[in-house]
Every structure is written in C-alpha cells, then in structure tokens.
C-alpha cells in the first residue's frame, strides 16, 4: 500500500565537545548503525543512559542530522521532519494554552488541513485515546498519563506511517505506564503503525516490541538484536509470567548492567516445615 519503509544505513553521529577552557574536541556518539524496519513492526531501542538512543531517534525524526550515513524513507535520506513520521516526547510537550482538542489539532493545522477536517480528525483521535470527556480540559488539569495520551493522539492524528516514541512513559509512575502499554499496543494494532520506541525499561521493551535493538559501546553501535517471540495481542495473557520472558530479561540485563547482574541466585534447600 505504501512505500514509507524506514531504514538506517551506516549511521554515525558526532557531537562537539566543549571543555572548560573553550578548546573544542569532537566525541563520536554513534557509529555504523544499520537497521531495516518492517512494515507495522514495533521496534524498541534500548541501551544504557548516554548510549545515544535518543539521538538516533531524533535523527530519524529529522530533528538532528547524521554525520555519517543516515536514516532513509525508501531511498530518500531524511533531512527534516516529514508527513510519514510523528514524534511522541518524554516531556510530552503539550501546549499549555491549548485544550486537549486543540493540542491534538496542532499537527493537522500545521499541515494545512481545512478547519472542518482538523476538528473532525482531532475529535476522532481524542475519542480513540478515551479522552472525549476531557476534550476541553487544559493540560494542567490532566494527570500525567492523560497528558501522554493526548501526546499520542496528537502524533496519530496526522496519520503518520511511523510513530517515533522517545521514552514516552518515562515520566509517568509505574502503574500508569503499565496501563498505557496495553493501550499503546491496542492503538498501534488498530492503526497499523510502525513504531520506533526508545526506552531504558527492560520489561517495557519486551512487553511491547516485535524486535529489540540493544545499543552499547563507545561510540555506540548495535550490540544485540532480539526477536520477541510472544504472540499478540499480549494483553490477553500475562506475558511476563512466561519463562521466555525471564530469559529475555536476563539477556537484556546482561547487556545493560554487565554479566554479574544476570547470575542466578542459589536456591537454598527448603527449611524443614
């Protein structure tokens, strides 16, 4: 149906390094990243803090430029934001002077849709994330979880093929975040989006993804690619109770925290009852 296939080829990124006395050096953050993203695939990018995962996502969003290689839609190198991509931010970034509905309208307005179409689509996506009761509330009147649902609705409303999510649940409390996992999976399934999802939360990555990309090293590259075998929809059973889940978690913990973190505890012989 569409040709908006996302790929990342030989991507590298350097940042200028400023030292105290103003002498400038350069630090290589990412090097040699290659990734082919499938249609409607949910890919998580995980890595320790400072591993450049957010930088990678920002380059795909067109908010930063790669210094080597790049991200491509089909054969076109990404050099700025585009219609086929929308971003959901960790800091949510709702416009405080706009109510829920008007926030969801933002992207549609910028793309120059007619006023009637803007209103109709915004209303549709406000309902999709279950906020029709709060359509006229202002951001400060909403909980963090509701705010991020607005952020997701805003990104979906422009009908992108690819949803870019930068630790979208990172600022929410654990319960709210887990509740939103199911909601996100169901939204993505309904709208058949491709998702690139940055997180440092291991369970979140396994629970949501079809594939997990692990970034590591300095400069960071892809150190592991994990295919997540669980069938969807995952909210219909408890994925985390499966032994495979624990194995994947141990593998990811090994990457993020070192091998020490995954050594199994010795199970003590049971004391007599």
């Amino acid at each position: 149906m569409d040709a908006a296939r996302l790929s990342i080829r030989g991507l590298g990124k350097r940042f200028p390094l400023r030292t105290g006395r103003g002498s400038a050096g350069v630090v290589q953050v990412l090097r040699g990243i290659d990734l082919e993203v499938g249609q409607s695939e949910f890919i998580s990018i995980i890595g320790a803090s400072g591993s450049g995962k957010t930088t990678l996502l920002r380059i795909v969003a067109g908010l930063d430029q790669a210094d080597e290689g790049g991200a491509y839609i089909g054969d076109t190198r990404i050099s700025g934001p585009g219609r086929e991509r929308s971003m959901v931010f960790q800091s949510i970034n709702l416009f405080p002077w706009r109510n829920v509905l008007q926030n969801v309208e933002l992207g549609l307005e910028i793309r120059g849709e007619s006023a009637a179409e803007v209103r109709r689509r915004a209303m549709q996506f406000v309902s999709l994330v279950g906020l029709e009761q709060h359509a006229h509330a202002y951001p400060h009147e909403l909980s963090g979880g509701m705010q991020q649902r607005v952020g997701i609705a805003r990104a979906l409303a422009t009908d992108p093929q690819i949803l870019l999510m930068d630790e979208p649940f990172g600022s929410l409390d654990a319960q709210t975040a887990e509740f939103l996992w199911d909601e996100l999976l169901s939204l993505v399934e309904k709208t058949r989006k491709t998702v690139l999802f940055v997180t440092h939360h291991i369970d979140e990555a396994i629970y949501l993804s079809d594939r997990i990309i692990v970034l590591g090293g300095r400069p960071a590259g892809i150190i592991d690619v994990i295919d997540v075998p669980f069938t969807k929809p995952r909210w219909e059973y408890d994925v985390r109770a499966l032994p495979e889940f624990a194995q994947l978690r141990a593998r990811l913990r090994g990457h993020l925290f070192g091998q020490r973190a995954v050594r199994l505890p010795e199970v003590k012989a049971q004391e007599e009852a």
Partner: protein, 253 residues
C-alpha cells in the same frame, strides 16, 4: 467587625482624615489644606466641568500614547526576541533610550513636535514603549524550546512557529508588560502635561500649584490615583481573560 480587613481600613482612614482635618485647619491652608476644603474644591471643579474636561483630555493622551507603544513595542519585542540579527541591529538604541530619563528628552520633543497634544503623546509613548517592548522580548526568550521543537517535528515553518508557538507562549509576558506600561503611561501623561500642556490633569496640577491652591492640587492627585487604579484594573481584567488556561502556580508569574 473591627478585625475584618475592611473594618480596619475604614478605621484607619477615619482616624487619618480626622487628624488631617484638625491639624490642617490650625495651620496655613497653603501647607496642608483640609479634607472638607478638598471636598469643596472637588465639587466645584466637577460643577464647572473643569475636572471632567481635564480627565477626558488626559485619558485621550494616555490612550493614544499607550496604544502607539503597544502597536510598535510588541512587534519590535517579538522580532528582537526571535531574530539575533534584528536584536543586534536594534538593541543599542533600545538600551540607550531605556537608560536615559525620558524627561531629559522633553526639550527635543518640543523642538520636533511642538507644545501640543502630539508632543504629549510622544512623551507617553516614550515612557510606555520600553516596559512593553522589553517584556515582550523577555517573553520570546522564555518560550519553552521543547514546544518549538514539537511544532517543528510536525513540519512547522518559521511563520507557523511564530504564530502558533512564539506569540501565544509570550502572551503572559506581553500582558505583564502592558500592566507595567499602563502605570508608566499615566506618569508620562502627567509629566508631559505639566511641561507641555494647556489642558488636562497635568496642566491643572501646575496651574493650581502655581496659585498655591493646595486643595485643588489634592483634587487632581486623588483623581490621578483613582484613574491609575481604574486603568490598572482594566488591564488586569484583560490579562485574566488571556490567562484562563493557566494553573494557579503559573499564574503567579
């Protein structure tokens, strides 16, 4: 009853006015006058139409200067805040004019604009434009970069960034600029009419001051206080209408 805030205020006013009446009637009336004499002067200036006429003229000058300052100050502040090149081209003049006491410019204004209403409006403009311009500038500088980036991620160009992010995000700062500006406008109006006026409240002040008609001077001073409060409340009312989306913590700005 006496512990309520209005009870306390009323009590304080009564005591001060009574003391003023007693002390004022025992010394030279030029020095302090008395509340009753001031009330008589108030009734006389209203009956003769002098005070309403002066308030009308003064309001006209204040409004003309204030709106000119708003129309010129807000766009310059927005552009200075957003575009470095424009900022560096303009800021030497803004900073130089800002630190010069506006009264020092009155001789020049007389040379350029004469002694009439136009010159008074120029003076009001001069005192009002800086708080408005500088608050607007500060507002643009304080726009959350993440909101600009969000709009950019949806493909917004410079024009859309300006109208959808920069301007609405600066509104609270612009509004507090207007609130500061209206107070400055009243000061500018009085100074201008004291130096340049042949009508208006500033002229009344100089005129009655020269005649040592202290009770009449007090009539003008008290009317000015009322005018200042009324105008500030008006701007605050407009400000609240623009800030309805704010949470209580944000409103403190």
């Amino acid at each position: 009853m006496l512990t309520s805030k209005w009870g306390l205020r009323l009590m304080s006013l009564t005591v001060v006015l009574a003391a003023w009446q007693i002390v004022g009637s025992r010394i030279n009336p030029i020095f302090l006058s008395t509340p009753t004499k001031i009330a008589e002067a108030f009734v006389a200036t209203i009956a003769s139409g002098e005070l309403p006429q002066a308030v009308f003229v003064s309001l006209g000058v204040t409004a003309a200067g204030f709106f000119t300052a708003l129309i010129i100050g807000i766009p310059i502040g927005l552009l200075m805040g957003r575009f470095r090149t424009f900022e560096y081209l303009i800021d030497p003049y803004v900073n130089a004019l800002y630190v010069v006491p506006r009264i020092a410019l009155i001789p020049l204004i007389i040379i350029w604009a004469g002694l009439g209403v136009a010159a008074q409006i120029v003076v009001v403009f001069g005192t009002t434009v800086f708080p408005i311009l500088l608050s607007t500038y500060a507002g643009v500088k304080h726009v959350d970069k993440r909101l600009i980036e969000t709009a950019h991620s949806f493909g917004a160009g410079e024009r859309q960034l300006f109208f959808k992010v920069i301007i609405p995000a600066s509104v609270p700062f612009i509004m507090s600029g207007l609130r500061l500006g209206i107070g400055q406008a009243v000061i500018g109006m009085i100074v201008a009419q004291m130096f340049l006026g042949i009508a208006g409240m500033g002229f009344m002040l100089t005129n009655y001051g020269n005649q040592f008609a202290t009770n009449y001077v007090f009539v003008v001073v008290l009317s000015l206080a009322a005018l200042g409060i009324a105008l500030t409340e008006l701007v605050k009312f407009v400000e609240r209408r623009f800030n309805h989306w704010k949470s209580d913590e944000l409103r403190a700005i």
